[in-house]
Each structure stands twice: as C-alpha cells, then as structure tokens.
Amino acid sequence: MIALLHSLADRQWHHGYDLMKDTGLLSGTLYPLLIRMSEQDLVEAEWREPAMTGRPARHAYRLTQKGMALVQDLARNDPALSGKAVRI
C-alpha cells in the first residue's frame, strides 16, 4: 500500500497498468488494494477516453483529499513519501 501511495502521491490521474509498472505490484495485488482504498474513500476513480481509437475507456485513479491527508501523515515518517508530498 505504501508503494501505491507513493505512486499516487503526485495527485495526478494514473491508469491501472501504469501503476502496476510504477509500483512493481502484480494485478492480483494492485486491484484488491485499489478497490479497498476506493471503498475507504482514499482513492477516486473515473473513466477516461482511450488514447487510441477502438480501445475501451480506461479507469484512472488518483488520491482523494482523505488519501492525501494519509500520505502527509505517513510522510512524516517516510522520507520517500515526503519528497512527493512536498510538491503537492
């Protein structure tokens, strides 16, 4: 979860596959995490139009205010997170 928070800490929209590559998590770990974080209102999701025609719309994710508050809370003890959180 820390790795995922680290990837999402820039508060930009990210696609699921990009998050997988960024965090090194497998899809079987990433999606249950995203689902749980979304249910806890830490992450918000929205459908984005595909970059290529003929492809389905993709889900994009970013941290909510509550998620950002958690990142900032964790950043006090994690220098890696604080590096990103400062830029927000």
Binding site: H15, G16, Y17, D18, M20, K21, L26, S27, G28, T29, L30, Y31, P32, L34, I35, A45, P50, R55, P56, A57, R58, H59
Partner: protein, 205 residues
C-alpha cells in the same frame, strides 16, 4: 493460444468479481489491452483471477457465487450425469437389475409386453430429464431464476411421471423415488439461492 487463454482467465476473473463490482471488472478488462501491448497478457490475467478469487470468500456476493458453483458442479451436474448414463444404459440399469421384482408370475406374463413397449419412452424421458437438468445448472449459474423455476418444475414433472408409470408396470420405483427426492432437495436449494440473491440487492447484470 496464449492470448486466448489470457482472455478466458480475464472473463473468469470478471465473473468471480460479480455484479457488485462490475465497474472494477470493466476497469481490469480495459487495462488488459495495455498488458497485451506490453507482451504480458497471461501474467496480468492470472493476477486478476488470483485477486478476484482471493476476494470471493470475504465478500457476501463472493460466497454466493461459490455456493452457486458448488451446487451446480457438485450436485446438479452429477445427478444429470446419472440420469443420462442410466438412460444410455437402459431402464434396467435405473431399476438396479430388479425389474418386475414385486410382480407375480401372472403379472409378469401380463405386463411383460407393456414393459417392453414402455422401456424406450422411459429411457427417452430420463435422457431428456438429464439434459434439462444440465440446463437447470446453467440457468442457476446465470441467476435466471424465472426460467430455472420453470425448468425445475418440468424436470420434477418428468420424474413424477416416470415414478407413476413404473408403479403402474409393477416395477421397482426405489431408484426413481431417490432421484425425485434428490431433485426436490436440489429445487429447494435453488429456491434458497434465489432468496439469498434477492437479499444481496445487486444491480441487474
């Protein structure tokens, strides 16, 4: 082949997530194209399936799906297989080789021709009942409760007819009654699943 297997795993993963998480299933499916472009469709699909399977026992809808599959694969399909194999092997197999056991010599003499004449029809009825039971298992997994109720009633009517005909012919009805009892339990379990499904209050699929 790898892509075909990956797509099959993705479909299974989406089914495992159920109606309540349909949006997440669509989100995973949408990312599948990115995994294909990256040359890792199988890893992605296997991961999605593993994640979906791990979530099933901890969610009410997941437990419902697991129970549906257990009922279909461990009870309904085996009963249907018994019916189809009995029909294929002939009615004496269904009767455990004890045809006409309770009849006197005179009854056997009188009924012999009738039994021979009824045999193919009974075998056909049993075969149809087995095939329709396979359909009933499919309808249960599809959660098409209206059609499942109609199909279940039809199978029950077929088995009841068989028991009556076997009784009229002085044939042993023990195994047919057992089959009817098993079907009754099966239909009661389907009714229970229907009620559970309604309690889940899921969006229509």
């Amino acid at each position: 082949m790898k892509l075909l297997l990956s797509r099959a795993l993705m479909t299974l993963a989406c089914r495992c997530l159920g109606e309540g998480r349909r949006e997440w299933a669509q989100a995973m499916l949408a990312e599948f194209d990115a995994a294909v472009d990256d040359g890792r469709p199988l890893t992605f699909a296997a991961g999605c399936l593993a994640g979906a399977l791990c979530q099933m026992p901890v969610r009410d809808e997941g437990r419902f799906i697991l129970t549906s599959y257990a009922l279909a694969l461990m009870i309904m399909v085996p009963i249907a297989a018994v019916e189809i194999s009995s029909a294929a092997l002939g009615i004496p197999h269904l009767l455990g080789g004890q045809a006409n056991i309770g009849a006197t010599y005179a009854q056997k003499l009188l009924m012999g021709e009738a039994i021979r004449a009824a045999g193919p029809s009974l075998a056909l009825l049993l075969l149809l009942s087995g095939i329709v039971q396979m359909r009933l298992a499919w309808l249960t997994l599809e959660r098409d409760w209206v059609r499942a109720a109609a199909t279940g009633t039809a199978v029950l009517a077929a088995i009841t007819t068989m028991i009556l005909v076997l009784g009229c012919l002085f044939l042993d009805i023990g195994q047919a009654v057992t089959l009817g009892g098993a079907l009754g339990i099966e239909l009661a379990l389907i009714a229970g699943l229907r009620s559970w499904h309604a309690d889940l209050n899921l969006p229509p699929y």
